[in-house]
C-alpha cells in the first residue's frame, strides 16, 4: 500500500505497476494509448476523475516516447505520414472539443458520448473483424500452397480508392510505400482528431484502422506511426494537465515503471507476427471496449440505480487488459515454438513469422 498525498488515497502499488505494464504492452502492440482502459481503472482505485485523466495522459506521454523509439528501431515509422497527419489531427481535436462543449451546453453530453462511442467502436470492430478474417483465410491458403508470404496481407479495396484521388500535392511516403494525396492524409487526421476530441480519448483505436484501410499503410507502419502521434498529443496533454494540478507524479512514476517494460515488450512483439494478428487483437480490444461502453450507457440510462451494471463494466475493463496481454504473450510464445519447429495450433501458423 502507498499513500498518494496529492490524491489523498491509499492504493496497492503493484496494481498501478500492473496496469502500466498491461496497457503498455497492449499499446506498444496495437498502437493505442489505452486511455479507455486506464482512466476507468484509476477511478476504480479511488483517484478522482479529473486526476485519473491527468495521470493517464502523463503516463501515455512517457509510454508513447518509449514505444516510438522501439518502433523506429524496428522500421515501423513513416515520418512523412506522421507529420502530415499531426497537422490535421490538431485541427480535428479543436473542432471535436468545440462540438463537445456545445452538447454539454444542451445537457446531454454523457449519453451522446456513450452512444457515439458504441456506434464508432462497433462499426470499426465489424469491419476490422470481417476484413481480418478474410486476410487470415488468404494467409492460410498461401501457407498451404507453400508460397512465400510477407508480413502484411490485407483484402480491403478502400486504400486503392483513396490512393486514386488526384488532388495535388501528391506525396510519397517511402517507408509506408504509399503514394497518396496529402489532403487525404490531412483529412484522415482531421476526422480521427475530431472523434478523439469529441470522445475525450487519444484516438489510436480510430487512427490505426484509418491508416490501414484508408491510407493503405501496413499494420506495422500504422501502429508505429500512430504511436508518434500519441507521443506528441500525450506530451501536450501531460503539460496541460500538470499546469492544472491534475497529476499525482508518484502514481505516474509507478505506472510508467510498468509501462516502460510493457511498451518495449509490446513493440518488440510486433516483429513476431503478421499484420492480421495485430488487427485481430485490435478488433478484440474494440469489441470488449464496446461492451464496456454499452454497460456504462445502460447504467447512465437507468438513472445510475442498477449497481450491477457499473460493477460489470469495471470487471470487463480489468478483464480486457488481462485478456489482451495473455493473447499477445501467447502469440509470441506460439511464434517462438513455430520457429523452433514445435507444435502450434493450425490457426496460428499463418499469423506468426
Amino acid at each position: 500500500m502507498f499513500e498518494f498525498l496529492i490524491a489523498g488515497i491509499t492504493v496497492p502499488v503493484f496494481l498501478l505497476v500492473l496496469v502500466g505494464l498491461t496497457v503498455g504492452m497492449v499499446g506498444g502492440f496495437i498502437g493505442v494509448g489505452g486511455g479507455y482502459m486506464v482512466t476507468p481503472a484509476l477511478i476504480v482505485f479511488g483517484f478522482p476523475g479529473y486526476m485519473a485523466s491527468g495521470i493517464d495522459m502523463t503516463h501515455i506521454a512517457g509510454k508513447g516516447v518509449v514505444s516510438s523509439i522501439r518502433h523506429r528501431e524496428l522500421g515501423n515509422i513513416d515520418w512523412t505520414l506522421a507529420l502530415t497527419m499531426i497537422a490535421g489531427t490538431m485541427l480535428g481535436v479543436e473542432l471535436g472539443v468545440r462540438v463537445l462543449v456545445h452538447f454539454k451546453g444542451l445537457g446531454i453530453s454523457a449519453i451522446v458520448l456513450l452512444i457515439t462511442s458504441v456506434v464508432i467502436m462497433l462499426s470499426l470492430f465489424i469491419y476490422t473483424q470481417l476484413e481480418t478474417h478474410r486476410a487470415h483465410k488468404k494467409l492460410d491458403q498461401l501457407t498451404r500452397e507453400g508460397k512465400e508470404i510477407g508480413r502484411e496481407v490485407q483484402t480491403s479495396n478502400l486504400p486503392t480508392l483513396f490512393q486514386s484521388i488526384p488532388l495535388s500535392p501528391i506525396i510519397r511516403c517511402r517507408h509506408a510505400r504509399v503514394i497518396i494525396s496529402m489532403w487525404v492524409i490531412v483529412l484522415v487526421g482531421t476526422a480521427t482528431g475530431f472523434l478523439a476530441g469529441f470522445l475525450g480519448v487519444g484516438g489510436g483505436f480510430i487512427r490505426v484502422p484509418a491508416l490501414v484501410y484508408v491510407v493503405g499503410a501496413s499494420t506495422h507502419i500504422a501502429v508505429g506511426t500512430d504511436l508518434v502521434e500519441i507521443a506528441f498529443s500525450g506530451s501536450y496533454g501531460a503539460l496541460r494537465h500538470s499546469m492544472e494540478g491534475n497529476v499525482d507524479m508518484m502514481a505516474v512514476l509507478f505506472m510508467i515503471g510498468g509501462a516502460m517494460i510493457g511498451a518495449q515488450f509490446g513493440s518488440i512483439a510486433t516483429a513476431f507476427v503478421r499484420g492480421p494478428a495485430i488487427r485481430y487483437i485490435l478488433s478484440y480490444s474494440l469489441i470488449l471496449a464496446t461492451v464496456g461502453a454499452i454497460l456504462r450507457l445502460l447504467y447512465v440510462m437507468s438513472g445510475q440505480n442498477v449497481e450491477f451494471l457499473s460493477l460489470a463494466a469495471v470487471m470487463l475493463t480489468l478483464g480486457e487488459m488481462i485478456f489482451l496481454c495473455l493473447f499477445i504473450l501467447s502469440l509470441v510464445l506460439f511464434a517462438v515454438r513455430h520457429r523452433a519447429g514445435k507444435w502450434v495450433p493450425d490457426w496460428v501458423k499463418s499469423l506468426v513469422i
Binding site: Y280, M315, L318, G319, E320, I322, F323, F327, P345, W347
Partner: protein, 35 residues
C-alpha cells in the same frame, strides 16, 4: 478441451474466461469496498 486450443474462437473464449476470472479475483481481494 482441444477445441479451445485448436480453433481461434475457442482460444478467444478460453482466454476471456481466464481473464474475467482473474479480474474477479483482483476485485475480490483488493478492490471490494472501494467502488
Amino acid at each position: 478441451m482441444k477445441w479451445f486450443i485448436n480453433s481461434l474462437m475457442g482460444y478467444w473464449i478460453l482466454l476471456l474466461a481466464i481473464s474475467l476470472g482473474a479480474a474477479a479475483l483482483v476485485y475480490q481481494i483488493w478492490l471490494k469496498g472501494r467502488i
